[in-house]
């Protein structure tokens, strides 16, 4: 009896302590907001955006576990547990989409990730200022072209009759290929397009990191007798390694997010076998076939995989290279 009382008493003390510290924190927050309101004001739009477009939709995620119909609404639809996931994993198309997502992402990681780094290192070696600026502008440009136009350019370039690629192949006496209907050509074209569009713009981050390297490290190396090649390997790359790792973690977090607009614009049923990824699958299931609940389950699966990947990458990086996102 007294024992329980003691426990209860202890509990009361705990809560008052916690209350006091909560109150203390609230006072602190209030003062902070009052003193720094301009900063909070600037923060506000982002917070609102995140609530509206990232957190509020999470409420709808529950339909992944419900037999959802638009007419009943989210709340009234009955729970069905893991049924939709069962359906998905019984579906060969979904399994294929996972495989394709992983393969495209892997290619993107292997070829697409190093591209901006190499580009930045190359720009860094260009001494002629005007030439450097011109070259940079040219490679940044594709980033600013909308995806639809990019898809148009790609479609035209690879078209079997008038396309640049086939024309050039014609000069060498090669038969023309209708690339965009060939499953084996889809991934190289897609990954190549991604590199062409984003490598230049992506190099800005690495150029900024390179610009942050203390110039006297290079001067010291010059006096020591290092060549430009040695300086790149022994100074530049190690110095920007933390940036490279951070970008890699972000990239891994986005592994399931292959830019599916471009896929939708470029693929056709003939190339689905290599081009259909989870997101395009979700799009067809949800928006075109109206199976919102199954699509939500697929989307949730995607998100969970991405979450696990980014956590793992971050943990590994923190452990082995002392660099991490958080």
């Amino acid at each position: 009896m007294s024992d329980t009382q003691d426990k209860q008493h202890g509990h009361v003390v705990e809560t008052t302590k916690r209350k006091r510290s909560v109150k203390h924190k609230l006072t602190w927050l209030y003062d902070h907001v009052r003193n720094e309101w301009q900063i909070y004001l600037m923060l506000l739009p982002t917070v609102v955006w995140m609530i509206l477009f990232l957190y509020k939709p999470m409420y709808g995620l529950q339909i992944a576990f419900k037999d959802y119909s638009i007419f009943r609404g989210v709340a009234a639809s009955p729970w069905v547990g893991w049924e939709h996931f069962q359906t998905l994993f019984d579906n060969d198309q979904f399994i294929r989409a996972i495989g394709n997502t992983i393969k495209i992402s892997a290619l993107n990681l292997i070829f697409g990730f190093p591209a901006p780094i190499i580009l930045a290192l190359m720009f860094n070696e260009v001494l002629h200022a005007v030439y450097k600026r011109t070259a940079q502008t040219i490679v940044y440009l594709p980033h600013f072209i909308s995806t639809v136009i990019i898809a148009g350019i790609v479609t035209t370039a690879f078209s079997p009759t008038a396309g640049v690629v086939n024309t050039i192949m014609g000069w060498f006496g090669l038969d023309s290929i209708y690339f965009l209907t060939r499953p084996e050509w889809f991934r190289p074209i897609f990954v190549g397009t991604g590199i062409w569009q984003e490598a230049g713009f992506g190099s800005i981050v690495f150029l900024a990191a390179i610009a942050g390297v203390n110039p006297s490290l290079y001067e010291s190396a010059v006096v020591d007798g290092a060549s430009r090649w040695q300086m790149m390997w022994k100074i530049t790359i190690p110095s920007i390694l933390p940036t490279i790792i951070i970008m890699l973690i972000i990239r891994i977090g986005n592994i399931m997010e292959v830019s599916f607009e471009l896929i939708i614009l470029l693929y056709q049923p003939a190339t689905w076998s290599t081009a259909d990824v989870v997101n395009t699958f979700v799009y067809r299931q949800g928006l075109q076939s109206g199976q919102y609940d199954v699509a939500a389950a697929a989307g949730l699966f995607n998100a969970v995989v991405a979450f696990v990947l980014v956590m793992t990458a971050n943990t590994l990086s923190r452990r082995y290279s002392r660099t991490s996102l958080w």
């Binding site: 203390n214 006297s216 490290l217 001067e219 010291s220 190396a221 010059v222 006096v223 020591d224 007798g225 290092a226 040695q230 022994k234 100074i235 190690p238 110095s239 390694l241």
Partner: protein, 364 residues
């Protein structure tokens, strides 16, 4: 060890000329310090010796070989940078070994040299630490280690101690001096701290606005500054400079500052009424009279105790003057001072217009 010869060297950045043709002859094993105010071209000169800046005009030779067109790595110089320039991703041993690795020295030679340098600089316990985990003084030592491990012909230092606190700076200063004694390498050392210059240098080069004002041993510069700039730069506090006019009296040539007559040493080439600046070092004045000293009445303003000495801030008319006086453990007796004494032999005279020292004529 080798000599460095700087001959009419000019440096321009575009149209802007920042070094205006300087001449300097550095003897083998000599420790030369370049001092001067910020922006006077010390670093630029040093970097031209290192080969990090192109030489616009004139020549620099190392060991009688003109190096204007020689790449930095082939000049056999080593440089210690103000911010140490340590590689953050390498540990101390690898930082020290960097230059040797670049030169593809043998593994055994590298290991041996790193060990030896670590011992010389007291870095042995830190060899596998990264620079981020070292104190400022230790980083400084690693930077020195990187330079000495290569056994270069010439050491170049660009304000190596300016990021350290005062105490550590004094300590490292002594260490650099010891190291120079031990290695005997020709050294060019840039600083804007005149105390560092005085304590380290065999010869000091005072620079100002891209020219050399004076070259000399620390004591030459202290006792016989060539002009008012050097007089005001060397010494702490610097030499007092008082404006006055030459008065030829029956008693000899004097300079009248406000209403005080300053005795001058020997026979100087000055004319009656000429505007001059008399220079007297704070430490050359005393509170008591001596054989050849003359009296200077002052109005005392402020006493700054430094411990064994105190600075008396005073004035003669409008002209401020600082006197360094012994405290003998108490400053009470200094508050009533109304006159000080200076020996005529230690008074310097400069032309007020050109700022150049007016020296004693060789007695004929």
């Amino acid at each position: 060890m080798s000599n460095v010869l700087i001959n009419k060297v000019v440096k321009s950045y575009g149209r802007l000329e920042v070094v205006h043709g300087i001449d300097l002859d550095i003897a083998p094993q000599e420790f030369v310090v370049l001092v001067g105010p910020s922006g006077c071209g010390k670093s630029t000169t040093l970097r031209m010796i290192a080969g990090l800046e192109e030489i616009t005009d004139g020549t620099i030779s190392i060991d009688d070989r003109v190096v204007n067109r020689v790449a930095p790595k082939d000049r056999d110089v080593a440089m210690v940078f103000q911010n140490y320039a340590l590689y953050p991703h390498l540990n101390v041993a690898d930082n020290i070994a960097f230059g040797l690795r670049i030169r593809k020295e043998s593994k055994e030679h590298i290991a041996e040299s790193v060990k030896e340098v670590g011992e010389i600089l007291g870095l042995t316990p830190y060899l596998d630490r990264r620079p981020a985990n070292l104190s400022g003084g230790q980083r400084q030592r690693v930077a020195m280690g990187r330079a000495i491990v290569r056994r270069p012909k010439v050491f170049l230092f660009d304000e190596p101690l300016s990021n350290l606190d005062a105490k550590l700076r004094t300590q490292m200063r002594a260490e650099i001096k010891r190291l120079h004694k031990r290695l005997g390498a020709t050294s060019v050392y840039v600083t804007h701290d005149q105390v560092e210059a005085m304590t380290l240098a065999d010869r000091i080069v005072v620079m100002n606005g891209g020219i050399i004002e004076q070259i000399g041993t620390p004591m030459e510069l202290f006792m016989n500054p060539a002009n008012t700039f050097v007089a005001g730069f060397i010494g702490s506090p610097p030499m007092n400079q008082l404006r006055g006019n030459v008065h030829k009296t029956a008693d000899g040539t004097k300079v009248k500052v406000h209403d005080v007559l300053f005795d001058l040493p020997g026979s100087l080439a000055v004319e009656e009424g000429q505007e001059v600046v008399v220079g007297v070092r704070p430490e050359h004045m005393a509170l008591t009279a001596s054989a050849d000293s003359f009296e200077i009445p002052i109005s005392l303003d402020l006493v700054e105790p430094l411990g064994s000495e105190a600075l008396l801030h005073a004035s003669i008319g409008e002209e401020p003057i600082i006197i360094k006086a012994e405290t003998h453990g108490d400053i009470a007796h200094l508050s009533g001072v109304s006159k000080v004494y200076a020996p005529a032999s230690l008074v310097k005279v400069f032309d007020a217009k050109t700022g150049l020292a007016i020296n004693e004529q060789a007695s004929s």
